[in-house]
Symmetry: C2
Subunit: 500 residues, 2 copies
């Protein structure tokens, strides 16, 4: 081992310590910190984030990386370390093009914008958010001009969340999907709907937590390497492959929400828990591709979790943990978890209409960055699209354009990842069935862990070391396409809704 | 504001950031961290603790403090800041007399000793712990020789946990207590005992948590400035007056345990939540006197919490939250929470026999540091004292000398604080009744927050700025004495046990 490589590893450890406490403060603020503790914690967080940023952008680090990139040093590294060095060098070169004072200003604009978004959402008044959004759009464009000079802004943003993805590909597969999904959805909505009253009742929160733990264990979440917290919005957070945490939230009149959030976040977490521990504390140690990441959470949530066979071996156990559910037969429950209906809020949508929520946002983002639509016109455009795709007109912006926080902190280009994830899932489902046989049968036998093991081997263990395209290539040897997802939808909903 | 003072405040902020993350990692490791996450977190903790230690002992800090101690600077400070500067300068001067290599060796010996203690306790074998204990005693003596040259070792240790306290005073008040408590206890034990079967049952953990939250709120714990976690042993942790956390543990066959742990830790937490927020992030901001601190937790737990009138206004609510408790009338419950019996384990003892557990440990510590009793002879001495005070002989050392972890990390001199706390409580109770009127009546009216307010004003707000003696002087204008506690015991247990 060369001296430089040794020094580099020490440096990575130190960076990892800062990442650890940054993540821990994030976790704490969202899961348990008392209200009045926030101010002191934000101050500490700001201090350590600055230190972390200094470490991540230090000339010393760049020197080490540059030294490790010389042929002599580089060839002595194994392929994983070569990936890590290349990746870090690329990122540091991008980041160092951002002037320090611009960066500070950008962070401040984002912070103010997040607060303004929250205020606007509560006040149901887009005009409070509009000037902040305009500034966030402006600094986002400027940031891309620094990090990816010469690259088209929106493609650069897409690439940032799903490396190698571009709007040409997304246009193609979203169109592919739309052409068949719109008529299918019409058919579904015209068919007889399940009676949602069958699940009406009071579902005790503590019992829901027991169900959540049961489901997490069942799908393969390892409690020796993870735990569950409670937060306003469910999320997954990983410290290393050995400590991956999820959160959940609970509605005592709607038990399905916490069950499917648990399975969804569980999917993200199983991914992170099964990354090769060799990558812990490096950029390879966590999957940085949001489309691929969402493909795993959504595979568990939708492809597996909304399959009737998933529940067959465990429904009785779940009913015993949550006795109120005894009022619903498995059939009622199954129909309700696949109840398709147009609705305002993305995060509450079923897996079919969810696609339209994403397509709408994707088109909005293109309108912002390609067509330069001014912020004042965005709510009307949103409502127009909502009417077109979901046949609904928001009563106010809080159930329209203000519903998601993503744009408030500049996370443009993130939304498509959700649908890309589902589209990948269509492909993964085909591949899994080719290799393992019928997923229905595996689930019905209670052998879901076979599927988890397959995903661990095919996808999870590689962390970030395989790009999205390489994952697809390795798992199913084919180009991305929405057809398999569409086939899955058609087959499933023809049966669920007795379509012809 | 002088330049030095400004710089000093910036420095304190930075120290506080490190304290914040150190506390947060401590909290996380004990309340929720998954098993496999420990290693990575300990590495991060070691790293940041070292940084924290460097900050706390930096020559730069001493220079600032020395500058602030010059008449010109010092007189410009208000009394609180004068206290802080003097206190920090004193501590840094003590600490800097400890040679760095000795300090490192001491920490290592303590760490190894803690592990050996745990092993020995599990194996019920004192001989595993003995050589480590001998080393810990040795380095403790050596440490005191550095920090407090010329001072008698055990008095220096006592002073470290309860500033201004010495063994002469403790001898006097413990003897005072013993002379009356031994005969009273004999009388109690000879009387008719309550039927503990009246509370036998299954008490759901989630319901116990609801009771815990109810009790915490009831006594004045502020959930906007605190939260509750679950850990093996209950503890209180404060980040600042605005974020003070407690933990609890639950036995589903013994609901009293979590109720009284909640009230006890709640007492510590109410103290910390009500320190003047001006002191946040400084040595004044948290009470560093363990006797005074324990006086507050034990005032809530024993003086208030084990008073029948405490429960009168709320017992029905508690029964509704924990329906299994409906089998027990308030009278049964009251007798059980004041059930006096000789027992092996300090932390499970009632408030009367608890005193003997502490007196025993205090005498053991004197034997170690004054009489130089060799470690091999300590278990026999322990058992002899246990027989004398509690009429019990431990079956093995895990229920004898190995039961507490305090000595394994060198916390000699801590134990007396618990009983000092109760002795202070006798004095505080008298003072409270003089100023507020009958505590029984206040409690019976459900007005406990009046008492909390009184304690806030008399004690809590001052944080560390008043030494234990000054607290006593301010609250009850008298010397410490065990008589008021003894009067409380006699009055209460004469009634509980219908003694003549």
């Amino acid at each position: 081992m060369s001296e430089t490589f040794k020094k580099f590893q020490e440096y990575l450890k130190k960076m990892d310590y800062y990442n650890h406490i940054g993540s821990l403060m994030y976790w704490d603020m969202r899961t348990q910190m008392p209200k009045e503790g926030f101010e002191a914690c934000s101050d500490a967080l700001t201090y350590f984030s600055t230190e972390q940023f200094k470490l991540a952008t230090a000339p010393e680090l760049k020197e080490m990386l540059t030294a490790l990139r010389t042929p002599e040093e580089f060839e002595a590294l194994d392929a994983d370390w070569q990936f890590i060095v290349k990746r870090m060098l690329r990122d540091i070169e991008k980041d160092e093009r951002i002037p320090q004072d611009f960066y500070t200003r950008m962070v401040q604009i984002q912070t103010e914008s997040e607060a303004a978004w929250e205020e606007a959402k509560n006040a149901k008044d887009f005009s409070i958010f509009a000037p902040h959004l305009a500034k966030v759009i402006e600094v986002t464009k400027q940031r891309v001009a620094y990090t990816d000079p010469g690259k088209e802004v929106y493609d650069a943003l897409l690439d940032q969340y799903e490396e190698g993805m571009d709007s040409e590909t997304i246009d193609r597969i979203f169109e592919e999907l739309k052409s068949e999904l719109i008529p299918l959805t019409r058919q579904i909505l015209a068919a007889e709907q399940p009676d949602e009253q069958k699940l009406a009742g009071f579902y005790d929160k503590d019992q829901q937590k027991k169900v959540q733990d049961y489901l997490l264990k069942y799908i393969g979440f390892d409690f020796a390497k993870g735990c569950v917290g409670e937060s306003e919005h469910p999320f997954t957070l990983n410290f290393s492959s050995k400590d991956v945490r999820v959160t959940n939230h609970y509605y005592e009149d709607a038990p399905i929400s916490s069950m499917f959030s648990a399975i969804h976040e569980g999917g993200h977490a199983i991914f992170e828990q099964n990354v090769n521990p060799k990558y812990d504390g490096t950029v390879a140690g966590s999957c940085g591709y949001m489309g691929i990441h969402e493909s795993q959470s959504r595979f568990y949530e939708n492809i597996l979790g909304r399959n009737k066979n998933f529940w067959k071996p465990i429904y009785e156990d779940v009913q015993n943990l949550l006795p109120e559910l005894k009022k619903a037969e498995l059939d009622d429950f199954y129909r309700e978890i696949n109840h398709v209906r147009n609705s305002f809020i993305r995060t509450e949508a079923d897996e079919v209409t969810y696609c339209f929520h994403i397509i709408l946002r994707y088109e909005m983002e293109k309108a912002i960055f390609r067509d330069q639509v001014p912020v004042e016109e965005l709510p009307a455009l949103w409502n127009e699209k909502m009417k077109a795709y979901l046949d609904l007109v928001p009563a106010d912006d809080s159930e329209g354009i203000l519903q998601d926080m993503h744009w408030s902190d500049g996370s443009f280009g993130y939304f498509p990842s959700y649908l890309l994830g589902s589209i990948y899932d269509g492909l993964f489902l085909e591949a899994a069935e080719e290799e393992l046989g019928s997923i229905d049968e595996i689930l019905a036998k209670g052998e879901i862990k076979k599927i988890t093991k397959w995903l661990n081997e095919k996808i999870h263990q590689y962390g970030s070391t395989r790009l999205p395209k390489e994952v697809l290539e390795a798992v199913c040897s084919r180009e991305v396409s929405a057809k398999p997802l569409m086939n899955y939808f058609k087959k499933k909903y023809t049966e669920v809704y007795s379509l012809r």
